[in-house]
Amino acid sequence: MTRINSKISVVKAFVFVSLLLILSNQGCNSQSGKEPGDSLNKASPSPTIHVVFTGEENGYLEPCGCSEVQLGGFPKRHTLINHLRGKDENWILLSLGDLPGKVGRQDEIKMETALDALGRMGYVAHNIGEKDLNMGIDLLGYLSQISNVDFVSSNIVDLDTSAFNIKPYIIKEIKTEESILKVGILGIVSPELIESAYLDVTVVDPVLALKPLLSDLYDKTDILILLSHAEMEESIKIAEVYPELDLIISGHLVDRPDLYLKKVDNTYVIPVGEKGKYVGKITLSTRRKESGEDEHVNSSSPAIETTPLDGKFEDSSEITMLLEIYQERLKDEELLAQVFKSDPPSNLTYIGNDDCAACHNKIFKHWEETGHASAYETLVKAEHEYDPECVECHVIGLNYFTGFETIESTPALKGVGCESCHGPGSDHKETLSKDYGKVGIENCEICHNDEHSPHFEFEEYWQKIKHPAEEK
């Protein structure tokens, strides 16, 4: 009997220890969090949602340039999102703002294309940034009507157009295995970024604007997310004022989002990076209202990742097709013909490669064998020959009178020709001046800048194009 009782005691102890270890393991995970990327496939003790966030595309629908392995682009982004959806359907996709980079017809078409892409990817909210506002209230209003993505701004008020379909916040319901979670999404833009005196909008101080909205949303939602189109310092201040926010997506002017993650009490402040090069992901869980106490959500550490959109991701065919439509629209609207032209310096004119070849035949033949000579054909192969932003660096003098206009009318000005580097040659042709055409690294860097040519090394690249002296 004593032996049996001992065995029972040991068994009881074993069961008890096992239960303790299981419970302690769950407790530890909820306190320490998990390694980035590990959480997505593992069951969580509390309902979780996954959030993907991007922003600050600044007009970059795809990596700009012809170098290998450049980061970013909507086609790669779509592939990543499809991959994430394959693992778990419950993703909320959020856009911080600033889809366009500049102002002009090409950027209007870009913004329309970008919003179409976001809609196809299933984004639920696009926050208004200052560059979005720069497109004009009328256009923004039209886009807000036809887009499948909701426009949100909690601190832009008194919009002087009835066409604008913008919400101060959005509540998105996510059905998890355990329950239905309500996610409140708000958005602000920093007044510091806006010349509101010239816009028909009023931009309220974000802290003031958020107060009544958060009061209203706190009890109606399980998770609160703020899209803060402001610099990190300002977003951090908002986190300090409003600890009820679970996540603030921020980061105006942050190039490497992985280096600037912040946690303010229980609020995560995470930047998006720039030019659409990165996709941020976070898994948020909530144990809200279970205990009846005012326990802040996410006292556990969520899984956070910032993924660079690099060569690991293939281009999505659907979004690639969308970008083909974009190029088709540039051609359709003849934007190349509308490029603003000014007079070449010193009243000179461009003469074309053929005229240079008449005297400098040896150099011309050398040039024909270089990548510069086929620069225009490279563009044609990439189907970007009607994109002014690309053509500019692949022809001679696009931005000047007497420079490249079309391949049909100015074929001698295609490619990175003699005058691309040496300047308009009319005077040299006439006077045979010997002081014509001195070049330095600064001439190369106009086109071979960090964005278009990230691997550019002058000494290495120079060897590929430097030409011998002409025989006298």
């Binding site: 980035p36 004009g136 039209y142 009835s162 002017l253 280096l259 969308l322 960090d450």
Partner: protein
């Protein structure tokens, strides 16, 4: 009875060990945790990289200017420090000036060059130094400041807004130089023939330019630029973009619908937005061609000037080939009785 007595504290110890010693780190970020008060730690048997000033503020520079800075670092550990890589972000280059292996107690230098290019405003760039320091394998340096423009242009672009056909509207722009004491605008060239631009005032080197959108009957969006040539050494040429809309009795957006290349059997839809700019203007009927394109008013906002949101659907039964379609919007407007919206795409 001793076994249960011993088991309990053992169980407690086991649980405590499991909790505290199997915790994993949360942070995914590289942190340049810079304890400036740390002395050389002679007890640590590994290299320790330390930057006294990892963040450099270059203040203000003008566009197209370059900034160079040298970051000095020290190996405060007990083993040889090896710099594996120095990585920068766009606009910035960096390279190690000294040897990439630094003995304990010795120093090294990294030179960073930032080119402002065409950027303007506040910037902050990161430089990541990867090394064999196990505590800080990636050390973050920053270079930040403000890129200022010589020419202060307010506003930086002109939004004419929605202008009725036949209406003339003027906007003003002020421009002044921060560096040129005798600043002059030498030439003003608008990019569109229906835009006029002239200097209307000059005061203390600040020019006020009036930009006028003349009466224009072509309905639709417009855009272009006002090109200025100045005597600024830094910004001798500048473009001030403008945009707006000539609005008739109705405005439609977009002007064309692009479906792109569509696989046969796939159903797609797009939306167009129609806004009445005058009261009593309404859509009478909508016709589409070819017949595999249909429309549906999905939203109508009643007001003095109603808005419509129209779904344009490409049916799955669409025949293979070029779509080449059109949507006809019939209204009771005298000046816009029919608005045509082209539908472009191809069924494959």
């Amino acid at each position: 009875m001793k076994k249960p007595f011993l088991i309990t504290p053992l169980i407690v110890l086991l649980v405590v060990w499991h909790c505290f010693f199997s915790v994993k780190s949360l942070e995914a970020a590289a942190i340049s945790d810079n304890n400036k008060n740390a002395d050389i730690n002679t007890s640590i048997q590994h290299p320790t990289i330390f930057f006294n000033n990892p963040d450099f503020d270059f203040g203000q520079i003008y566009k197209d200017q370059k900034v160079e800075h040298i970051y000095t670092f020290e190996n405060r550990g007990k083993d040889t420090l090896k710099i594996k890589k120095v990585r920068t972000s766009c606009g910035c280059t960096a390279a190690i000036l000294t040897a990439d292996t630094i003995l304990p107690g010795e120093t090294g230098e990294i030179k960073a060059t930032f080119s402002s290019g065409s950027a303007s405003g506040n910037i902050k760039k990161s430089i990541t130094v990867s090394s064999n320091d196990p505590d800080t394998p990636k050390y973050r340096l920053t270079i930040f400041g403000e890129i200022i423009k010589d020419l202060i242009i307010k506003p930086e672009h002109i939004d004419f807004g929605s202008v009725s056909t036949g209406e003339k509207i003027s906007k003003t722009v002020s421009i002044k130089s921060q560096t040129e004491p005798d600043f002059k605008i030498k030439k003003i060239t608008p990019s569109k023939p229906f835009i006029d631009a002239k200097i209307v005032a000059v005061k203390n080197g600040e020019y006020i330019i009036e930009i006028t959108l003349n009466r224009n009957s072509v309905i639709g969006r417009l855009s272009g630029g006002i090109y200025l040539e100045t005597n600024s050494q830094i910004e001798s040429k500048v473009n001030i973009p403008f945009f707006g809309e000539i609005a008739g009795d109705i405005s439609t957006y977009p002007k064309k619908i692009y479906f792109g290349s569509v696989v046969k059997g796939k159903e797609l839809s797009q939306k167009i937005y129609v806004k009445a700019n005058k009261s009593n203007i309404e859509i009478l009927k909508i016709k589409t061609f070819p017949d595999y394109i249909s429309t549906r008013i999905i939203e109508k906002k009643e007001s003095e000037k109603p808005h419509y949101l129209i779904e344009v659907k490409l049916d799955s039964e669409a025949a293979i080939g070029n779509i080449g379609g059109v949507l006809e919007l019939h209204t009771n407007s005298e000046i816009q009785p029919v608005t045509l919206i082209r539908i472009i795409g191809e069924i494959e």
